[in-house]
Symmetry: C2
Subunit: 192 residues, 2 copies
Amino acid sequence: MSEQRRGAPRSEAARIAILEATARLVRERGYEQLSMEGVAAAAHVGKQTIYRWWGSKSELVAESMLDGFLMPGGEEPPNTGDLRADLAAWLREIFVFVESPDNELMLRSLVSAATVSREIGARLHEQLGAGSALTRRIDDAAATGEIRSGLLGQDVGELLIGAVVLRVLTREPTGPDLPGRLVRSILGDAPS
Amino acid sequence: MSEQRRGAPRSEAARIAILEATARLVRERGYEQLSMEGVAAAAHVGKQTIYRWWGSKSELVAESMLDGFLMPGGEEPPNTGDLRADLAAWLREIFVFVESPDNELMLRSLVSAATVSREIGARLHEQLGAGSALTRRIDDAAATGEIRSGLLGQDVGELLIGAVVLRVLTREPTGPDLPGRLVRSILGDAPS
DNA sequence: TCATCTAGACGCAACGTCTCGTATTGTAGA
DNA sequence: TCTACAATACGAGACGTTGCGTCTAGATGA
């Protein structure tokens, strides 16, 4: 069944070099300033080699992210038994990451790419949505009565992550108490 | 004090034509495909007239939005006395608007522009943030005890609007019950 | 008089396609 | 087994096109 292809196989070295160069240039200059010519030059690769495998800038940025060259792996929230504190700590970490000048350009580039490519949007949702550790953690808490029942982990996750994305867009500075406020806005205070 | 300027004043006709052409082209082709040359041609305007008043594509798209050529004015949530129902209805309207194929390109263009221009981000926050009717409505409800105290209108608004923005990015279809679920995720069920 | 207007020329950067010559693989014939 | 040859990928870069942002020209209007 598996018809053998002829000719030279795809060069893994070129693929890696292109994705790494893309990640580096996105971090340095951002999405709009990223050019295919720049990537080709930085990766010491012919332009055709890029266009052969990726159709557009957004696809390229997408794969660079999905393969972990751009974004670190999804951090899981800690688990100390106190869901509210855990979520607030997790959010605080994320806000620190988001507000770091080193990551600003990269994150906005990711959002830009998502506005252009349906695929990135889908992967974004996949990586953040149902099935993540965050979602399960909240569902468990609802089942054990730590938080009020009726709460869906997926919905709570969307609200929290949405707030983070909104901050990326508005560039409003976050105060140290924002994570706690947001978590309590949803889950309320712990039962005494 | 008011020094009289000499020479011809700025042409309001040209300004309107440019902003309208920008809005039309953004709706038709999206942010990335929008070109300054295209706007100049469509508005029957010299390129210099655009560059004289706007410094970049993102600024142009920003003003086109802020002046109402792109976005409809901020809709206020209805007020029937039942905050949960009002917010759900308001969210439902927004999701319908967001998911309309006519508005998809425009909204993603707005997000793109916000990733590029700090000003748009700030205006976005200004238009959606504290001081809006939504925020006041929630603060009032917290004061009268319709919802639990300790909730800040600004935080709740950020969570809800963030969820909308996230949907714009992930392009996940929304179910008819999502607005109600999101509102109840935050406010809980009405006290019986 | 002076700032604005439309129109378009200008040099430059990047686009996406195409063509080289070379390297690397599978297939087929000697 | 050894040797052509076909197929494909590669780096490099030429090519025409598009859009960039600046600049000049001549007309218009306060």
